[in-house]
Amino acid sequence: MIDVKNIKKSYNGTVVVDGVTLSLPAGGVISLIGANGAGKSTLLSIVSRLLPMSAGTVEIDGMDVTTTPGDVLARRLSILRQDNHIMSRLTVEDLVAFGRYPHSKGRLTGTDREHIAKALRYLDLEPLAGRFLDELSGGQRQRAFIAMVLCQDTEYILLDEPLNNLDVKHAVAMMKLFRRTADEFGKTVVLVLHDINFASCYSDRIVAMRDGRVVHQGPPEAIITPEVIRDVYGVEAQVMEAGGRRIALYYQ
């Protein structure tokens, strides 16, 4: 369970996250939505100890992220931010193998190799395993990074805009994979998403932020409504039912 209490973050007087209290139970896919600059990425970075908070506490299964040793947390929680630049000369397989570092500190065991092979297979990266990262397209590289994070095999997986750079086919495959990770392996996947329809179709729970605060949260049925979308994004949307899913049309 991720327990966020009264988190504040400000840069030189500009408040980015303004007193967020949130508790996310273990298991399932949780989407974080909101307009640009609503504080989603900042919140995710604070929860995953990449950024220090100005005030408040974050606990992962009762462990305070600011005081728990990094390598202990790395076996419980993984984070992937946007824009990952790597200067080393790495193959896809090398990168994915780094996901095992928290477990084996670089000396790969048989179990590690199984995890690596599985992550490569799930992300459709087997044909690319020996390619260097700088020879890949943006979408292929994004998949390689996600494979690394999945290979880390943590209880909680935090991803900042994982659908960036992905085409429709791979975006859908990615969301299905997150669903499967949650359903079959009991993991908790927390995603920052910009496409609310992806959030609607694949999440168990949606958390909506605006101006550094959590303004709405609940199952997709409660969040994907014209009123909530107007409140969060300030746009008018029509919501339709299709195949039991709620789809928002905001292309006026």
Binding site: R75, S78, I79, L80, N84, R89, F98, Y101, K105, Q152
Partner: protein, 327 residues
């Protein structure tokens, strides 16, 4: 191309580099030798030992510095080390006169130089990480670099100022010390330096795999459980000690670290520091010994080693840049 990959695999490259390095050392030790062998070998042996030590220190410090800053065109000299060394040299001659400085115990001077450079960088890091560095420590690494550059400019300006008002004879003494020179290395200092470098290397050895993770960038390293702040701080201290020792031993060798690190990245098709670091060190030793060989046999000592290395190095570097951009 699998054949190409196998041909260029890290163990093969390391083997070739080792062979070339040994060959250049053998040539350096024997070429043009006149007189008694025991004298020639001992005399040249000290020089080779100094070059091995300095090459190793410069290569390792540059690669590690680039790993923690995630930038391949920075060198530790950006932090103002070279200019601090120049300022110390000039200041000593300015205030105490060239006669006294020449008669000063070399061990004392070495100690003072190393200590002041380590203390300077230590204070800088400490201040940035504990005072100004509150908050996001990625930004404070950039701040650290920026402050280092500003200090470098300050030291350089002070040095230039002192050199303008100094006695011309004293200026010649100073100038001589501002170029890297392997001909005046003291055997005793060399042994002390070797011990210091060895101690730093042993301390860094257990972090070999952590360095690979650090090269992925701060966020990914933290995600993988590396105590980023602590490790970066420790690496900065290691870099400070290595650079200080090598600079105090032979003088500034600025450009050279950048060159050997990038050549190592070019020839080693791997991300692992366990092979990049030895490759960079071997290339550094090869360059130094080869450069000294050219200096002694071709130019008959009529140039400075840094001129030879930076001329060849500059050309090689331009070549890498042009080739890289055309890819």
């Amino acid at each position: 191309m699998p054949a190409d990959r196998r041909l260029m695999s890290p163990p093969v490259v390391l083997g070739v580099l080792s062979a070339l390095t040994l060959l250049s050392i053998a040539l350096f030790m024997t070429l043009g030798a006149r007189g008694k062998w025991d004298f020639v070998l001992a005399f040249r042996g000290t020089k080779v030992a100094a070059m091995v030590l300095v090459g190793y220190a410069v290569a390792v410090s540059t690669v590690l510095f680039q790993t923690i800053t995630n930038n391949r065109i920075l060198t530790p000299s950006v932090m103002g080390f070279d200019f601090l060394y120049r300022l110390i040299q000039t200041g000593l001659v300015f205030w105490f006169g060239s006669g006294l400085v020449a008669s000063l115990d070399p061990r004392l001077r070495f100690g003072v130089e190393v200590a002041s450079m380590v203390v300077f960088s230590g204070l800088l890091y400490w201040w940035l990480f504990n005072g100004a560095g509150r908050g996001d420590n990625r930004r404070s690494l950039h701040l650290l670099l920026l402050v280092g550059i500003v200090f470098g400019v300050l030291f350089r300006s002070l040095t230039n100022f002192l050199q303008r008002i100094i006695d011309p004879n004293a200026f010649l003494t100073v100038q001589d010390r501002l170029f890297a020179n392997f001909n005046r290395v003291d055997g005793e200092l060399l042994a002390v330096s070797a011990l210091v470098v060895l101690a730093v290397s042993l301390a860094g050895w257990r972090w070999m795999r952590t360095f690979d993770v650090l090269a992925l960038g701060r966020d990914t390293a933290i995600n993988l459980g590396v105590d980023h702040r602590r490790v970066v701080m420790a690496v900065l201290v290691m870099v400070a000690v290595l650079v200080s020792v090598s600079t105090a031993l032979v003088g500034p060798v600025t450009f050279f670290g950048l060159l050997v690190a990038n050549l190592a990245y070019l020839v080693i098709r791997s991300h692992r520091h366990a092979v990049i670091l030895p490759a960079a060190a071997l290339i550094a030793i090869l360059t130094l010994v080869g450069g000294q060989l050219i200096l002694e046999r071709v130019f008959g000592y009529n140039a400075a080693l840094s001129i030879v290395i930076e001329f060849v190095g500059g050309l090689a570097f331009l070549f890498i840049l042009v080739r890289g951009s055309s890819r």
